[in-house]
């Protein structure tokens, strides 16, 4: 590269071996009755880079060596080919090649650092090739240091080094959300935890998420909920398993406490470590990368002194048709509770119908009461039920419930409604 290299009989070349790509030619054809006749078509037929037998699909089949260094991401394997060439005609003895990967805080020997390091003998105009591979485990600047030493024909020990610098970037961004399900459908205490993990592709090209698995912490067993059916392998994400740049894919996992962990509920409640996500992805021609997240932490559920759960709610309601929501209010503190109920305005597209600002009967510790509240939906769509405020009259502490449940409001006209309106319109004046 620089003039100093010219002093050496040996030369060193390094090429990063990213996966080969598939090359295809341009297939430009014409009708036989057009001016170029069949000549353009003949050109397509004779082009070995274009798969024959079918019209060109644009998917090549000819392997092409990488023509640029490309990007390298954390978790991928850095692989390169070192070539030491003897530019002279004389035999060069005791050639040793060393390669070290230097990072900000450590150095990893990749080649020629073993104890019984092999010394090559290199004939005139001959080449030694070495392929080295290293799984990249750090972000940031990496420097590949290659050192070649040899015995010159006159018997001097000579050596030279070359440095190759590259940046390692982060390929994926993972965001998690937890949902603590307190009650199962059978109203038994379930203490399930749902994990929603958004895996975002922050590389510059599409990638294939080959495997995204949750390795649960010892308290939990996990059920992935990302396939169409429990037993099938087909993912809910569609036919092609691709995540385009900047796209995020949401994975959902259900974590159940193991029976032995259930024995100690308070310990379970404090168990914040959920598990690790293990992600394997591939890009061009199967280039593989693998990352594991750190231990995912959930917020331990905080209930305060009072716990409100929804007991009964319709899934679908008619616009402007009043419906009721059944709430259960439980005292989970060690003293008696006196609660005051208020309806707040603007409750998510519905309005409460009932007496606001009233006191609820006193609750003993651990005691529950049920309430049935009426709502009139005023907007269609998926609406959140909100706007319930409970005030602990003793501590003057308020609890606002802004996301109690959701209900779907439709405006489909039912038969009865139609009948009612037509009767109303047609009634004799």
């Amino acid at each position: 590269m620089d003039s100093k290299d010219k002093d050496h009989i040996l030369s060193l070349k390094v090429m990063r071996l990213t996966r080969p790509s598939l090359f295809t030619g341009l297939a430009i054809g014409s009708d036989a009755r057009d001016l170029p006749g069949d000549y353009l078509n003949a050109d397509i037929r004779s082009d070995i880079a274009i798969p024959q037998g079918i019209p060109n699909t644009g998917v090549g089949h000819m392997l092409l060596l990488p023509q640029s260094f490309g990007n390298i991401y954390l978790g991928e394997t850095f692989s390169c080919c070192l070539c030491v060439h003897n530019d002279g005609n004389e035999v060069i003895r005791e050639v040793s090649i060393k390669a070290v990967l230097q990072m900000s805080n450590q150095r990893v020997p990749l080649l020629g650092e073993e104890e019984n390091e092999s010394l090559h003998q290199l004939d005139g105009n001959a080449t030694i090739n070495e392929v080295i591979q290293h799984e990249v485990k750090d972000i940031g600047t990496h420097i590949l240091v290659c050192a070649v030493s040899y015995l010159s024909p006159v018997g001097d020990r000579l050596s030279f080094r070359k440095f190759f610098k590259f940046q390692v970037m982060k390929p994926l961004d993972v965001k998690t959300k937890f949902y603590n399900a307190e009650l199962a459908h059978n109203k038994a205490q379930s203490d399930e935890v749902y994990l929603e993990a958004g895996v975002q592709n922050i590389t510059s090209g599409p990638l294939c998420l080959e495997r995204v698995e949750l390795e649960p912490s010892p308290f939990f067993s996990v059920t992935p909920m990302n396939t169409l059916a429990q037993e099938s392998n087909s993912l809910v994400f569609g036919r092609m398993n691709v995540v385009n740049p900047h796209d995020t894919r949401q994975y959902l996992y259900c974590l159940k406490p193991k029976p032995e962990a259930r024995m100690n509920l308070s310990l379970l409640r404090q168990a914040t470590a959920i598990g690790k996500l293990d992600i394997v992805w591939r890009t061009n021609m199967g280039d593989r990368g693998r990352l594991q997240t750190s231990q995912l932490q959930r917020m331990a559920p905080q209930y305060g002194d009072v716990r409100v759960t929804v007991e009964k709610i319709p899934n679908v309601v008619q616009l402007e048709d009043q419906f009721s929501v059944g709430l259960s209010i439980t005292n989970i503190c060690e003293r008696n509770l006196e609660l005051h109920l208020d309806f707040l305005s603007g409750g998510g597209g519905s309005e409460w119908n009932g007496v606001s600002s009233r006191s609820l009967p006193q609750l003993q510790p651990g005691e529950s009461t049920s309430l049935s509240l009426s709502l009139v939906p005023l907007h269609t769509g998926l609406q959140t039920i909100a706007g319930v405020r409970l005030t602990d009259t003793f501590l003057k502490r308020t609890y606002d419930y802004e996301n109690l449940a959701q209900v779907f409001v439709t405006n489909e006209k039912t038969k009865e409604k139609e009948d009612f309106f037509s009767a109303w319109i047609n009634q004799p004046v």
Binding site: Y39, A49, Q67
Partner: protein, 788 residues
Amino acid sequence: MSDQPDPKPTLSNYFDQSSSSIFDQLSGTPQDAQPTPPSHQVGGVAPALPATSEQISTPYITPIANQQLTYPPEANSFSSPGANITTSGNASPSQGDVSLGSPYQPPVSVTPDPQLGGPGTPQPNPTNLHSLHPSHESFSTPAHHNIPLTPQNQEAVASTTNLPANNLPVPTPTTPSQSAMMMSMTTSMLVTDTSPNASMDVEATTVKFQQASIEEEAEPSSPSQTTLIHAGNVAMGIVAISAPPNNLQASTGSKPTSPKPPMKLTAASESAGDKSRQNESKLFKYFSNTKTSNPFDSIGNQTPGNTSDSAMINPVYMSPTDSFNISNAIPSPDSFLTPATEQDVFTASLLSSDADRRHDAWIPSESTKQALIAMSTSPPGTYFPEKDLLTMPGIAVKEDFGDPVKNLVRTYLGEEAATKRVVLTAASVTQDDRGLRQLIAAGCYHAAVNLTTQLLTVYGQGEGRAGHPSKHTAHSIQLWFTRIALLIKLRRFSLAEVECQYFGDLDAPDLYFEFYPELYGGRRGSMVPFGFRLLVAELPQYLGKHTQALDRLNALLRNCNRIIENLSSGLSEDGSTLEMTSNMRDDSLKLWRTRRLKVLYSITNCAVSLKDFRLAGSLLERLTQEDPNSAAGLYSALGRLCLQLGDVTAAQDTFNHYLEHTPPPPHHDPVQGLLHSAYISIAQNAFKDATEILQQAHKINPNNGLVINNLGVCLMYTGRVTEAIKLVEGAVFSQPDRFLHEAIILNLATMYELESSNAHQNKLKLLSLIAQHKGDSFNVAALKLQPQ
């Protein structure tokens, strides 16, 4: 040597150097000087009998010193139809005067015009272009001097007189003015181009008419001033003969011989056309049974030994059609009609109009439809559409393209080596469609583009003519199509885009036959070949505008669907009512279903290039249903697509589908299956396995370039660089014609760079190999030569 870590990323430097220009084209260079001026057979070669003359077979009549003495004797039946057309004139030629070989050839001057003269052409008898104006003389004035004969002409003539048809055409340069007239004929060929034989008729007829008309030459003293135009016009009149009834043909080919804006067809030319039409049945009948061989046969037969200027032409380029003969390559009777025989001239013309209708059909947009209706309902010459309804194309590049291979040879190997490189150039072939095809077949796309520049300039659509009105003909549109196709093949996408923009969405009224009733009679449909539409729709994707490409392709798909719908519901393609036999309807449906599939494949292409794996994958799956005959190939493509994405499991599944759709082992090629296994191994980073699999495939078929290339690449990844080079280099140097491929060369150049310090020398060896064996369209950027 430095002990400090070099802050510069040298590894990436190394790659950058070699990668920056991988597929960049060299910039255009001035056209090379003619190696030698083409020699002409002047005068003396004049055997009186065509049968013994080789000159007869030259595509051009050689220049002669005395233009007035050009009329051969009329010793055969040829003269009678001609005599019907014209009254006998005073310029009856005398036998023996003529130095030309054939008695049937009107002599032609290859004299270059001062204004438009081609490079290197001798100028024995310059003509004055400015005086060439149709009003100068009445139309019936003979235009005898300047009819260039294409080889088709020659053959037609020769066969008429039962001469042996072993004509060996010589590519010789002609002047643009000549090509103008040639085009006037070739235009008509295209218009009536339902059978190569039919076009032969046209040419033969033209010749005859020229001959006849000379007899009434009124002003022998000034023929050189009028001939150009008149030759064109006469040709216009005559070629109608073989056209379907009502198809008065004219050509705008003659127009551009004037440097002034194109002129209108004169009434005289129309009356001449009428005149010829009166005689057309007779003529047509006569010529239709003189039909012999395919006019394109001669291309394949040609050998350099018979040409005057062939000494300098490398045999590789001289007979590019060795590998195939266009007449054999014509795929279906759909595209060209079966030769008309004496009995079924009428049927032929019916069939021809059927094939034309089918191929040219298109559904115009509403505004175009209105303009075309206005055109056809108003009296001729009274309706002039808005200027923005017209396409006004022009060539957007000033200079001709050079030969990039030769330029590189000159830079790296010296002037001497450069002069040794011999390829066809635009000047060394006939200045017509045939020459164009010859250049394309020889892989000289740069030269072919240069030739389209010349031919389009003659149409008034040359450099700087964009935005100026000019008339289109089916032929000029075909020229544009060819030009754009070649530009895209040469990856000159921006230039192609600039030149395409004048055509808009290829739906302007002046791109329809109905726009030129005086030229095409009742012919309907679009002059734009379907391939052109596809090309223009695909073009934006090469410039990164995939959305625009997808929009255009979907518009094409919609129109195809509408045409298929129309046909299925008993209408004609464009939705009008038309009596169609069920055969006609089936043929048309078949054609349009094929075209629709082509569009679907193009959309797939675009999706793949966009790396929209979801769209590409779903399209490929859909195509396995819609094009079941290609299912195996489609599964193979889908498998490779999955690998490009990185989905190894899906790829393996899809390759298994491929196996289900191929015939069982004795019939199918095991190599493809091995290639698939190798791809899977590569994806699993098992390059050693891939190498072994491909070595097996190489043993089965040692001449498969794909296997050799892929095996070479896999050897690289296992650290066996020297072996890889030995394998690929050996293949390329032993069979350069087969294995000199840009991808193989790019890989080999990359291997050279890695392997030793001698990369540059090794690449130069490749360069001289390319210079020896490849045309000017070879992508020499693949060599990655360092600038000097």
